[in-house]
Symmetry: C2
Subunit: 133 residues, 2 copies
DNA sequence: ATAAATTAGAGTAAAATAGTCTTAATTAGA
DNA sequence: TCTAATTAAGACTATTTTACTCTAATTTAT
């Protein structure tokens, strides 16, 4: 699977946050979405670190969008949520056991690069606004 | 990761098989590719079941292509190798814990369906011949 | 002060991936 | 017909990734 639950939760939470006037707390979001609070909190922290959300601590704190929905790419959200670009197939993880020895030089490498580019481009072009239209 | 090692090994093996006159045995392939024989054998069996390869038992047996490279889609290879269509995100696995309760009706579902279709189409249009050109 | 929140990081449970191993079945060729 | 080479099938195991949990600390509106 290309995307994990972290991306799913991030997108579901962002849809609520963008439609809210006030900061939305992790607990409130976890209740509305019926998902684990601790896990969601960690994901939201990641989004805040990447500058997608602003986090406000203390009473009446929570998370708010920093930019407009139309200025946030799905790619940036997914990268923040997953901690890395979603990979079609990650040869680099297997560098020590790669049959070919040298990463990027095997017979299927051109195919994998093309495929990955297609995925990257698709996610970069889409914005948060687009997917909820 | 969208693709697993099963797909990688399947594609690498098919490239050798399609360039061979005689049937190629699992052991020989595993040596040429420096990958585990038992694992590769299982993957090749899957390809044979799906009608991509023909398997010949006994001495001097092995695997040969059933169709021309240009008639074998990458999608069919990946499905045979992985045992399922490579999924961008599989909500159905989480049906009992889906926040939304009803699969396919959440706010991110349209996005996921569009994304999955892009991936499916890309893999269906590509043939084994294409990726080694 | 205090209660409501995020932050940080270690730790754990479940699931998927990536194999292994053993035994059986088949078949070309001596 | 015997034998060595090969695929077939399925149970089993190890490793890695995913999906969390838990605790303690920090911040801040009231």
């Amino acid at each position: 699977m290309l995307l994990t639950r972290a991306s799913e939760y991030a997108l579901l939470a962002l849809d609520i946050i963008r439609n809210s006037e006030k900061p939305k707390g992790a607990e409130q979001l976890s209740i509305e979405l019926s998902i684990p609070k601790s896990f969601l909190a960690k994901i939201l922290q990641g989004l805040a670190k990447e500058g997608i959300l602003e986090s406000k601590k203390g009473a009446h704190g929570g998370f708010v969008l920093v930019k407009k929905s139309s200025e946030i790419s799905i790619a940036s959200i997914v990268i923040a949520a997953e901690g890395k670009t979603p990979a079609v197939f990650d040869c680099s993880q297997y560098s020590d056991t790669c049959p070919n020895g040298v990463i990027g030089s095997c017979t299927i490498s051109p195919f994998l690069v093309t495929f990955q580019n297609k995925v990257d481009t698709f996610l970069q072009k889409l914005t948060l606004e687009d997917i909820f239209k």
